[in-house]
């Protein structure tokens, strides 16, 4: 380091000496009373002036060279232009903003993301009763016997040994909770999961006749039954019965 500095110091000293010498040469004609416009005076003034210019230029060059060397060695901070400084400030701001955003989004993720093990446990707790309910829902519902119509009554009277054509024999497959399939039973129907138990679809064909029969003889309306029948008709019309 000192050897490097010695080089620049030597150059700077020589330049400073040249500057001093030039100044002295400029002053000598006036100091020693040379003859005006004589060769001695002109020589001294011209050489002095030239030395001043050259020495000043040398001083500047040596100073710049030394400064550059100091920057390269890391003694001085690297030089930055204003544009580069603004650019660096802008990029630093952008970097800080991006880091802030990443930090905030990570916090949200940590807050909102649940534990996967907990999610699996909750799902298991939610689905287990549904599965058991689905198994239990495949149950046997006894089918109602349709009400005998007057024609059937007459037919039954005439042929008591035969089975009536309007009687519905529904074959059902009973599935137990163990998964065993029992023998089909007569007059039983399978009710699908979600099917409301009761006289809805199966009684749909029988009840109106009964109601009609009653309406023929009784003038008084039955509002609840008629409402139910209307709802059933509406559901059949909209195709919900098929989905059952």
């Amino acid at each position: 380091m000192e050897a490097r500095a010695g080089r620049y110091i030597a150059g700077l000293c020589a330049s400073a000496l040249g500057l001093c010498a030039g100044g002295w040469l400029v002053l000598t004609p006036f100091a020693f009373g040379y003859r005006g416009r004589g060769r001695e005076a002109v020589t001294a003034l011209a050489t002095g002036g030239g030395l001043i210019v050259i020495s000043s230029l040398m001083l500047l060059c040596w100073a710049l060279a030394w400064r550059r060397r100091l920057r390269v060695d890391g003694v001085l901070a690297p030089r930055r232009s204003r544009a580069a400084q603004r650019k660096a400030e802008r990029s630093a701001k952008r970097q800080a903003r991006a880091e802030r955003l990443v930090r905030v989004s990570r916090q949200h993720e940590l807050e909102s993301a649940p534990d996967p093990a907990q999610v699996l446990t909750d799902l298991r707790a939610l689905l287990t009763p549904l599965l058991s309910a689905a198994e239990e829902s495949v149950s046997i519902v006894p089918a109602r016997e349709p009400a005998p119509t007057p024609a059937e009554t007459v037919a039954a009277e005439t042929a008591p040994a035969e089975t009536g054509p309007a009687s519905v024999e529904m074959v059902a497959i009973t599935e137990t909770s163990r998964g065993e399939v029992s023998r089909p039973e007569v007059n039983r129907e399978v009710q699908a999961p979600g099917h409301l138990r009761g006289a809805r679809s199966a009684s749909f064909f029988a009840l109106p006749k009964q109601a009609d029969a009653e309406s023929e003889f009784d003038a008084e309306p039955i509002p609840a039954d008629s409402l139910m029948r209307g709802a059933e008709l509406l559901m059949v019309g909209t195709g919900e019965e098929e989905s059952w």
């Binding site: 020589a14 040249g18 030239g50």
Partner: protein, 76 residues
């Protein structure tokens, strides 16, 4: 570039010193064989100082540069 200009400045300084030494005889305001006038003594002194300073400065700077080049070569 800057170093080269500075080194060139030292050479110019040396030449300026040499010129100051030779100027009284070249311009004939110092007659040969006659006693040196005040102006001649002054030019000789200033010129000699400049020559010595420029010569020393040039070779010191040159030696420093050569040492830097050796150091850079050793780093590689």
């Amino acid at each position: 570039m800057v170093s080269r200009v500075a080194m060139g400045g030292l050479v110019v300084l040396f030449l300026a010193g040499a010129w100051l030494i030779a100027a009284p005889f070249a311009l004939r305001f110092q007659h040969p064989g006659a006693a040196w006038t005040g102006a001649t003594r002054m030019d000789m002194a200033v010129g000699g100082a400049l020559v010595v300073a420029a010569f020393t400065g040039f070779f010191v700077a040159l030696g420093g540069r050569v040492r830097e080049m050796y150091a850079e070569a050793a780093r590689r």
